[in-house]
């Protein structure tokens, strides 16, 4: 490769590499409830999620108000929120590694229970 083509090749390489890098990072989606939703305490409220654990993740932990309440080994599914008390609550799904350490891939939402 001569020097004239090097910047173009580098740009193409970066263009191709960035999406691949982004895909490799993993992500968490909480499809239900929606962020800011109001839940009825008498309903069966389920947190529906979908996770790409990325290269460092293994499984996920669920948190209600920063307290771990569940361990989910399926990367796509739902978790029953047991009898949430009335008021505002924070729900989080965090990807953790095999040692149960959060790897920084997470999604948190706020809900109000009435």
């Amino acid at each position: 490769m001569n020097g004239k083509h090097f910047p173009a090749a580098l740009a193409l390489g970066l263009f191709l590499a960035i999406p691949l890098t982004a895909l490799g990072q993993g992500k968490v989606l909480i499809t239900s409830p929606a962020d800011g939703a109001t839940l009825d305490a008498l309903d069966e409220n389920r947190l529906v999620y979908e996770v790409d654990p990325g290269p460092r993740g293994d499984h996920v932990h669920v948190y209600v108000d920063n307290k771990e309440v569940g361990i989910l080994r399926k990367l796509k599914g739902s978790y029953l929120l047991e009898a949430p008390s009335p008021g505002k609550h924070g729900l989080c799904v965090k990807v953790v590694n095999k040692a149960h350490v959060p790897v920084g891939i997470e999604r948190c939402i706020q809900v109000t229970v009435k």
């Binding site: 771990e68 095999k98 350490v101 959060p102």
Partner: protein, 136 residues
């Protein structure tokens, strides 16, 4: 990523061999027949093994801290299992050390009880480890 996995794996190697020795050591002393002539050398092995368990257990936490800035996220049963495991490790280490310091004067029955206790502590720690692994 590779170095992180290597760090966890090497720590796990020490932890696994330590686990084998803290239970296998005292069981081998007692079964199929008590071996009074070997008790001190096996007590050293068990002492070192419990030390390795404590050190490698701490190293798991330090590895997580180094790579992620936090320790494993545990709750409920996992926390209780960890507490049991730590208590068993400390008790096993101290009991093995006590035997090495004072055991020459102990009766045969007392020495056998010591190794039965060490075996029980090993079994408790290994059982707690399973709960720690799968309830966190």
């Amino acid at each position: 990523m590779w170095s992180e996995n290597l760090a966890y794996a090497l720590t796990q190697v020490v932890h696994n061999f330590g686990a084998a020795a803290v239970l296998g050591g005292p069981v081998f002393m007692l079964w199929p027949a008590f071996r009074p002539e070997d008790t001190r050398s096996f007590a050293w092995l068990i002492l070192v093994a419990w030390g390795a368990q404590i050190a490698s257990g701490g190293l798991f936490g330090l590895t997580s801290l180094y790579y992620y800035g936090e320790t494993p996220d545990l709750s409920g049963i996992a926390i209780a299992a960890l507490a049991v495991k730590v208590a068993a490790a400390i008790a096993g280490f101290l009991l093995a050390a006590l035997y090495l310091l004072r055991g020459r004067a102990w009766s045969r029955v007392s020495v056998m009880r010591t190794f039965w206790s060490l075996a029980a502590l090993g079994a408790v720690a290994l059982t707690a480890a399973a709960f720690l692994r799968w309830f966190s």
